[in-house]
C-alpha cells in the first residue's frame, strides 16, 4: 500500500521536474530579470544573518572569528532579566498596534471618500496636498508637532480662546498622551501616501459593476459596501499581513525625536533600547540579541497573521 503510494507520488514529481525545466527555458528572460533582485535580497537580507553569531559570543571588533569567546545564551538571559526590557516591549507593542489600527482604517476611509469626489481637479488637489507630508522628514515633523503643542502653541491658543481650558496644557510632558501624539502625527504624515495604493486598486474595479448596481437601485453607500470594499479586499488583506509582520520593528525616529526624559516611560521602544544599551555602549552582542528577538517575534506574527487570514478569508501572502 505504502509502496504504491510512493510510486504514485514519484511519478508526478518526475513529471513536475520535467515541466519545471521546460518552463525555465521558456521563461528564461523573466528568470534572468529576477536574478539581480535575488542577489539584492541575498546581500542585504541573508548575508547579515551571519552576524547573528555575535549574539552568542562576547564579541570584540577587530578580532578574527575564531578568537571570539563563545558565551552561549548569556546575552539573552541578561535581556530577559532586565525589567526595563518588558517596559520597552509594552511601549513598542502598544504604539505599533495603535499605528497599525489607525494607519489602516484612516487611509481606507480616505480613499473611499476621495473616490466619491466627482470633480477631478478637486480630487487631484486634495490627493496631492494629503501626500506631501510623506516627503517631509521626521525631524521637521517632530519640530512642527512640538511647536504646535507647546504652551504658547496653536493648540493651546485655540483651546484657551474657546475657553475650554484656563491654563495651557503641556502636552509633550504628559506620558499618557505620548502614544496618541505619536500615532496622530504618524497618521497625518502617512495617510495620503498610503491612500495611493487603495485608489489604484479601486480604479481597477470595472465600471460596469457600478452601473449594474445603479440599475438595481443601489445608492452610494450601498455600492461602496458591496462593490468598492470587496473589490479592494485582497489588497487590504495582503497589506495588513505584511504590516503585522513589521509590528514590532517600528523604528525609533518618532519616539526619539518626539520624546523627552519626562515621558521616557512611554517613549522608549525596542530599537531605542537596542541603540542606548547596545550600540552606543559598544555592546554589539547585546544589541544583536535584541535584534534576533525582534526578528523571531516578527516572523512568528507574520505566520500567525497569514494563517489566520488564510483560514478566514482564503487570502494570504504565501
Amino acid at each position: 500500500m505504502e509502496a504504491a503510494a510512493a510510486e504514485l507520488e514519484s511519478k508526478p514529481a518526475k513529471r513536475a521536474g520535467r515541466r519545471f525545466w521546460r518552463i525555465l527555458i521558456q521563461q528564461r528572460y523573466l528568470y534572468l530579470m529576477s536574478l539581480p533582485f535575488i542577489a539584492w535580497a541575498f546581500v542585504f537580507s541573508y548575508l547579515p544573518l551571519w552576524g547573528w553569531t555575535m549574539a552568542f559570543q562576547k564579541f570584540r571588533p577587530g578580532r578574527p572569528f575564531l578568537d571570539q569567546e563563545w558565551v552561549g545564551l548569556q546575552y539573552f538571559r541578561e535581556l530577559f532579566h532586565d525589567p526595563q526590557f518588558y517596559l520597552v516591549l509594552r511601549n513598542t507593542i502598544a504604539m505599533s498596534t495603535m499605528s497599525l489600527v489607525a494607519g489602516f482604517t484612516v487611509p481606507i476611509l480616505f480613499a473611499l471618500v476621495l473616490n466619491e469626489v466627482r470633480s477631478m481637479s478637486v480630487k487631484r488637489f486634495v490627493q496631492t496636498v494629503s501626500y506631501l507630508p510623506h516627503f517631509v522628514s521626521w525631524v521637521v515633523v517632530a519640530g512642527l508637532v512640538t511647536k504646535m503643542l507647546a504652551t504658547d502653541g496653536v493648540v493651546n491658543g485655540i483651546l484657551m480662546g474657546l475657553h475650554l481650558i484656563d491654563q495651557p496644557i503641556q502636552y509633550m510632558a504628559k506620558g499618557n498622551l505620548f502614544w496618541y501624539i505619536v500615532t496622530g502625527s504618524d497618521v497625518w504624515k502617512e495617510m495620503g501616501w498610503n491612500t495611493i495604493i487603495y485608489l489604484a486598486a479601486i480604479s481597477g474595479i470595472g465600471p460596469e459593476l457600478y452601473e449594474a448596481a445603479k440599475v438595481d437601485g443601489a445608492g452610494r453607500l450601498r455600492s461602496i459596501w458591496h462593490i468598492t470594499l470587496p473589490g479592494i479586499r485582497s489588497t487590504i488583506i495582503i497589506l495588513l499581513i505584511i504590516s503585522i509582520g513589521h509590528l514590532i520593528s517600528i523604528g525609533f525616529e518618532k519616539q526619539f525625536l518626539l520624546g523627552n526624559p519626562l515621558v521616557s516611560d512611554y517613549a522608549q521602544v525596542l530599537d531605542l533600547y537596542a541603540l542606548n544599551y547596545g550600540l552606543s555602549m559598544g555592546r554589539f552582542s547585546f544589541g544583536t540579541a535584541i535584534n534576533i528577538f525582534n526578528s523571531i517575534i516578527s516572523l512568528f506574527l507574520l505566520f500567525v497573521a497569514n494563517g489566520v487570514f488564510k483560514r478566514i478569508t482564503k487570502e494570504s501572502v504565501f
Binding site: R19, L24, F42, L47, F65, P261, L262, F284
Partner: protein, 581 residues
C-alpha cells in the same frame, strides 16, 4: 496549474538562495581570515625601524582621523599647514568625524583598516582591544625630545591602565601648565537685570532668585508684548548634564567629576544625586517652578528651541556653560542687544560654600593622539608630532606666521589691528585661510597662561587679550563689580587643593563593564525623576524624591558606586606611583 508553477519557481529560488548563501559564508570566512594578519600585527613592532635618517624631509602623506569635527579644514592649503609641510615634508590626508564618531571607530576596529594617525578620544579602548594602535613608549623616548620636555613628569599620566602600562595615545586634549582665565560657567544673568537691581552681590541662590523676580515683576513682557522668561534650562539629551545636573554639584561645592561626587581623601565615589545637599538644590528649582520663575518648557524644549529662546533676548537667567548657549548669544550681539547678553556669577547654596569652577585638576591626561598598527612609518609620524610639540610648532599653530598673522613688538607677540579685525568680523574665512588652531588637538601643548622662555604667552587666551573681546555693556557690568574679567568674581585656583586624579569624568570605563551598564540605567532613572520632582507641586517634592532614591537603590546604585570607586582609586595609584620616581 498556476499554483504548481509558482511552487517550482519558489523551489528554484530556495535552491539559488541556499547555494549562494553557502558561497557567501565561505567568502565571509575568507574575508575574516584575510583581515586577521593585519589586525594581529604585533603591537610591539613600534621601534623596529630606527634607521630613518634624522632630518628626513622627503614629502610623505599620512592619513589622519579625528573624532572632533573641523568644518574649516582646508586640505593643508592654509598658511599654517603649508608651513608645516615645508618644515616636515608631511602632508595630512585628514578625515574629521561627521555624525557619530564612536561608530566610525568601531567600524575601523571591525574592518582592521586604520588611518595612520588616529584621535579616538574616549573610544581608544576599542582600538586597543582590537590591536589597532601601537605602544608609543619607546618611540617617544627615542625620537620625541619635545613631547618629553612639554609633558615632563605628566608623561606617565598617558599610561593606559595599571595592568597595561603602555602609552597608546599621547594626551593632546589636556594642556600643560594651564591656567584658566575664561569663566564660562556658574549662573548667568542678563546685564540689564543686574543693572536694574543696582548691581547687588550675586552669591547665593536667593540673591539670584531675587533679581530675576524683581525684574520680572517690573517687566513681565518685552517691547513686543511677548512674555519674559525667568530661567530656562537646557535639558535636551546630554545637555541635561550641563544645565540641570552638573550645577547641583557645583552649588554644593563639589568639583566636576561627572555623575559622581568623589571624596578627596578616601577617593570613594558617590552617585552625586544621593547627597542630601543636592536634594535642597533641586528643591530650590522646584520652588522656582512653583513661583513661575522657571521656564515651563525647560524639559520638553529641544536644543534649537532653547537657542532660539536665548536669541530672542527674553530669557533673564541661564544655568549653563557659555559654549552651550553661545549661538543664541551671538545672535543677540549681532542684533546689537548687548544688555541682553549674559554675565557669569559664582552662585552657591550659601556663602560658606566656594564655587568650584576653578578647582584645579592638574594635567588631566585623557584623550589623545595615537599611531595605528598599520602605519607605514611610525618613526616619521612621531617626529612630525614632535615638531608640532616644539615651541615653533605650538606658536605656529596658536599665532600663525610671523609677519603675516602676528608681529613681534618689544619682544612680545602682537596681533596687528587689521588682522584682529578680520578675526572678530570674518572669523570663518580667516580661519580657513590661516589655519590657526587646526593642530591644537594633534599637538602636545601648553595651556592658556603658560609662558615661553621669553616670558611671552603661548596662546592668545591670556588675561591681557580677553577683555579686548568684551562688549561695552559687559565691561560696564564688570566695572560695577570691581572686576576686569569674569574670573575675578570666582574663587581662585589657589583656594583649592589640586585633585589627585584629574577629573573622574575622563576615566575610561569599558562598555561591557557592569559599571557602564548600571550607569546608563541610573541615567535613565535620574533623567526621568529629576524633572518630575522639579515640576511637581512643592508638597509632593519629598515624596517623589524619596521614591527616586529608592529606585536608585533598587537598580543597584551601591554596586555601581563600589565599582566606580575602584576605577578612581586605581587611577590615583597609577598617577601617584610615578610621582615618587
Amino acid at each position: 496549474m498556476a499554483n504548481k508553477r509558482s511552487r517550482s519557481a519558489a523551489a528554484l529560488m530556495a535552491i539559488a538562495l541556499t547555494v549562494s548563501m553557502l558561497a557567501g559564508c565561505a567568502g565571509k570566512d575568507k574575508g575574516n581570515g584575510g583581515a586577521s594578519p593585519g589586525t594581529a600585527a604585533p603591537s610591539g613592532s613600534a621601534g623596529s625601524s630606527p634607521s630613518a635618517s634624522a632630518e628626513d624631509l622627503a614629502p610623505v602623506t599620512f592619513t589622519y582621523f579625528s573624532e572632533d569635527p573641523n568644518p574649516n579644514w582646508n586640505n593643508m592649503q592654509d598658511d599654517v599647514s603649508k608651513e608645516i609641510t615645508k618644515r616636515t615634508g608631511v602632508t595630512l590626508n585628514a578625515e574629521y568625524a561627521v555624525g557619530d564618531p564612536a561608530q566610525k571607530v568601531a567600524l575601523m576596529a571591525a574592518s582592521g583598516q586604520y588611518p595612520d594617525i588616529i584621535a579616538a578620544k574616549g573610544d581608544i579602548g576599542k582600538l586597543v582591544d582590537a590591536g589597532g594602535v601601537i605602544d608609543l613608549t619607546d618611540l617617544i623616548d627615542k625620537y620625541a625630545p619635545n613631547i618629553k620636555r612639554v609633558l615632563g613628569p605628566y608623561l606617565s599620566r598617558a599610561k593606559y591602565t595599571t595592568k597595561d602600562q603602555a602609552i597608546y595615545s599621547i594626551p593632546t586634549w589636556a594642556a600643560v601648565n594651564e591656567q584658566k582665565f575664561v569663566a564660562g560657567g556658574g549662573f548667568e544673568l542678563q546685564h540689564r537685570v543686574v543693572k536694574e537691581a543696582g548691581y547687588p552681590q550675586i552669591r547665593t541662590l536667593q540673591d539670584y532668585e531675587k533679581v530675576i523676580k524683581d525684574y520680572l515683576a517690573k517687566h513681565p513682557t518685552d517691547e513686543n508684548g511677548n512674555k519674559n522668561v525667568g530661567v530656562s534650562l537646557n535639558a535636551d539629551d546630554w545637555h541635561m548634564y550641563i544645565s540641570v545636573t552638573n550645577p547641583a554639584v557645583a552649588v554644593t561645592g563639589g568639583s566636576d567629576d561627572g555623575e559622581y561626587w568623589v571624596d578627596q581623601d578616601t577617593f570613594e565615589a558617590t552617585y552625586h544625586f544621593r547627597r542630601p545637599e543636592e536634594k535642597e538644590y533641586f528643591r530650590w528649582l522646584n520652588h522656582m517652578n512653583a513661583e513661575g520663575l522657571l521656564d515651563k518648557e525647560s524639559f520638553v524644549q529641544k536644543y534649537d528651541q532653547y537657542k532660539a529662546k536665548v536669541a530672542s533676548g527674553r530669557v533673564l537667567g541661564l544655568i549653563d556653560q557659555d559654549w552651550d548657549y553661545n549661538d543664541g548669544q551671538q545672535a543677540l550681539k549681532a542684533a546689537g542687544k548687548f544688555d541682553q547678553t549674559y554675565g557669569h556669577y559664582p552662585v552657591t547654596m550659601s556663602t560658606d560654600i566656594k564655587e568650584p569652577s576653578f578647582w584645579p585638576t592638574g594635567f588631566m591626561g585623557g584623550y589623545g593622539i595615537s599611531i595605528s598598527s598599520t602605519a607605514k612609518d611610525p618613526v616619521r609620524i612621531i617626529k612630525f608630532l614632535d615638531f608640532l610639540a616644539s615651541d615653533e610648532g605650538q606658536i605656529l599653530n596658536n599665532w600663525g606666521i610671523e609677519g603675516k598673522h602676528y608681529i613681534v613688538e618689544n619682544g612680545k607677540r602682537v596681533v596687528p589691528k587689521e588682522v584682529q579685525e578680520r578675526i572678530n568680523n570674518d572669523n570663518t574665512a580667516f580661519t580657513k585661510e590661516s589655519g590657526i588652531g587646526f593642530y591644537w588637538n594633534i599637538m602636545v601643548h601648553y595651556g592658556d597662561g603658560a609662558k615661553d622662555a621669553n616670558g611671552d604667552y603661548y596662546t592668545k587666551n591670556n588675561p591681557e587679550l580677553i577683555p579686548v573681546g568684551y562688549s561695552d555693556v559687559e565691561r560696564e557690568t564688570l566695572k560695577a563689580y570691581n572686576a576686569t574679567i569674569w574670573k575675578d568674581l570666582f574663587p581662585a585656583e589657589t583656594e583649592f587643593k589640586e585633585k589627585a586624579y584629574g577629573a573622574a569624568w575622563n576615566i575610561q570605563i569599558p562598555g561591557e563593564d557592569e559599571v557602564s551598564i548600571l550607569g546608563n540605567k541610573m541615567k535613565d532613572i535620574t533623567w526621568k525623576r529629576v524633572p518630575e520632582a522639579i515640576l511637581a507641586k512643592p508638597e509632593d517634592f519629598d515624596k517623589i524624591w524619596d521614591a527616586y532614591q529608592q529606585d536608585l537603590v533598587k537598580a543597584g546604585v551601591e554596586k555601581m558606586e563600589k565599582g566606580y570607586t575602584k576605577y578612581v582609586q586605581d587611577r590615583v595609584a597609577l598617577w601617584r606611583a610615578d610621582e615618587g620616581k
